[in-house]
């Protein structure tokens, strides 16, 4: 009995939803962005029919392929599927694309963001709750289009190549899952709806997969879009540092510090980038400044030991103006 019931997860989901619809949290029914096209359908989006309850791997393979990665649901499955729970966790759905050198960027939980990405040509992976709040029936699918006039939403879902949802019904199932959605992009590309901090977190997933070169490319693109964002600059510095491009790291950290003067963690990293170029004296000065901003910090102590162990060169080193007031009134 159990097996037979479980197999219905994504197939019978719609039936369950229609029978169990209940009152739920308010959700937006119309987009506020007037510039959106009235309708759009990404007909070229690939389709992978779901096996058993594995809507997670199928949906993820769909958006990955759409972004240019040639991967199958079978390849994605061991990275996201949780056999004991017969499902895939959102955190792992976000983490997996980095394995292939791609970024998964979560969307702001708004209808506008969803439609903006679609009209920009990007299919959107969504989490739906096909049950009700107290009896959840989680399902991942990929939205590939919409029609504002006919009030329809089109999805690649389960075994349906083109599932047509009535507008409000889709929005209900989506809002019951917290309007959760993600898009997948190649490094260097930024989703239209992304905010700087969400994008930065997404790009950092590449670093964890040792895709440092790709991460650097993503941070650089982010810096072009949000030039005033200090942490994006610092993150770019970190990726450059790991690639032993110390001069580039130094420049990134200096810009970050001009945007956020006196931040000890970035000064700590700048010191390392300077030491990497043989500028020990300059490095020690920067680190002393960091220590003034964050006294008795174990990270800075570690860095001091590390710098002292690095070879000192005679290269041309730029001085650093410490913005942190020193003890005893010294600048």
């Amino acid at each position: 009995m159990g097996r037979a019931v479980k197999r219905r997860v994504c197939l019978a989901g719609a039936l369950c939803a229609s029978l169990l619809l209940a009152a739920c949290a308010p959700y937006p029914v119309a987009p506020t962005d007037a510039a959106l096209p009235r309708s759009r359908e990404l007909v070229d989006t690939p389709f992978f029919p779901q096996q058993q309850y594995q809507c997670g791997p199928a949906a993820l393979a769909t958006v990955l392929n759409s972004a240019g990665a040639g991967v199958s649901p079978e390849q994605v499955q061991p990275l996201v599927y949780l056999p004991g729970n017969q499902g895939s966790l959102q955190a792992e759905m976000l983490a997996a694309p980095a394995h292939y050198g791609y970024l998964a960027v979560p969307l702001p939980p708004t209808l506008d963001a969803l439609l903006q990405e679609l009209s920009d040509g990007r299919p959107v992976l969504v989490l739906q709750n096909l049950g009700v709040a107290v009896l959840p029936l989680w399902h991942y699918a990929v939205v590939i289009g919409y029609d504002l006039d006919r009030q329809l939403v089109y999805l690649r879902s389960g075994r349906d190549r083109r599932k047509v949802y009535e507008w409000r019904r889709f929005l209900k199932t989506w809002s019951r899952a917290g309007n959760w959605a993600l898009v997948v992009v190649r490094p260097g590309e930024i989703p239209v709806s992304a905010t700087a901090s969400i994008y930065l977190q997404a790009a950092s997933s590449l670093e964890r997969r040792q895709r440092t070169e790709a991460a650097l490319q993503a941070y650089r693109a982010g810096t072009r879009r949000w030039p005033q964002h200090a942490l994006l600059r610092a993150a770019g510095g970190n990726a450059a540092y790991r690639l032993a491009r110390y001069a580039e790291a130094e420049a990134a950290y200096r810009t970050a510090l001009s945007l956020q003067p006196g931040k000890p963690s970035i000064m700590n990293n700048l010191a390392l980038a300077l030491a990497g170029q043989g500028c020990r004296q300059a490095a020690l000065e920067v680190l002393a400044c960091a220590a003034r901003a964050a006294p008795a910090n174990p990270v800075i102590d570690d860095t001091l030991i590390e710098i002292k162990a690095m070879p000192s060169g005679t290269g041309k080193c730029r001085a650093f103006d410490c913005p942190v007031p020193g003890v005893g009134g010294r600048p």
């Binding site: 019931v5 219905r8 949780l82 499902g87 983490a95 049950g131 950092s204 610092a234 970190n238 990270v299």
Partner: protein, 131 residues
């Protein structure tokens, strides 16, 4: 006593089999991007060892739920510290986690409703035939 022994065993396990995966010995002094992001969100900065124990905890939970140990290690390394915190102890309550129990109850409910309106006749206590 027992728990302190357990702790020691875990620490040993962690340091032997996972240190190479999680720690960043080549840039030990560097404040990583993950750490920069945590500072920004005001999250408490846990010690590296505690973070590693959390990771080991979540990895074990993945394996318990049927993930191939070789992949579990990879999957844990791909998650940020914040994501690890999110998963730790919540794995069965997060979306996509406990769907099955919900489905069973939902299907049962549907059958009961269908029984009540007379489409099906599974439960004898609903609409018993008139005598």
């Amino acid at each position: 006593m027992k728990s302190s022994l357990m702790k020691r065993i875990i620490v040993l396990l962690v340091s032997v089999s996972f240190f190479s995966t999680y720690a960043l010995p080549a840039w030990s002094g560097m404040v990583t991007t993950d750490q920069l992001l945590q500072q920004q969100s005001g999250a408490l900065n846990k010690s590296a060892l505690l973070t590693m124990l959390d990771r080991e905890d979540v990895r074990r939970q993945l394996v318990e739920r049927g993930v191939d140990p070789a992949y579990a290690k990879q999957r844990i390394a791909a998650l940020s510290d914040t994501q690890i915190e999110e998963l730790k102890g919540n794995m069965d309550t997060l979306p996509a986690g406990s769907g099955v129990v919900g489905i069973m109850i939902a299907v049962l409910l549907v059958l009961v409703i269908l029984d009540i309106v007379g489409v099906t006749n599974i439960f004898t206590f609903i609409n018993p035939p008139a005598k």
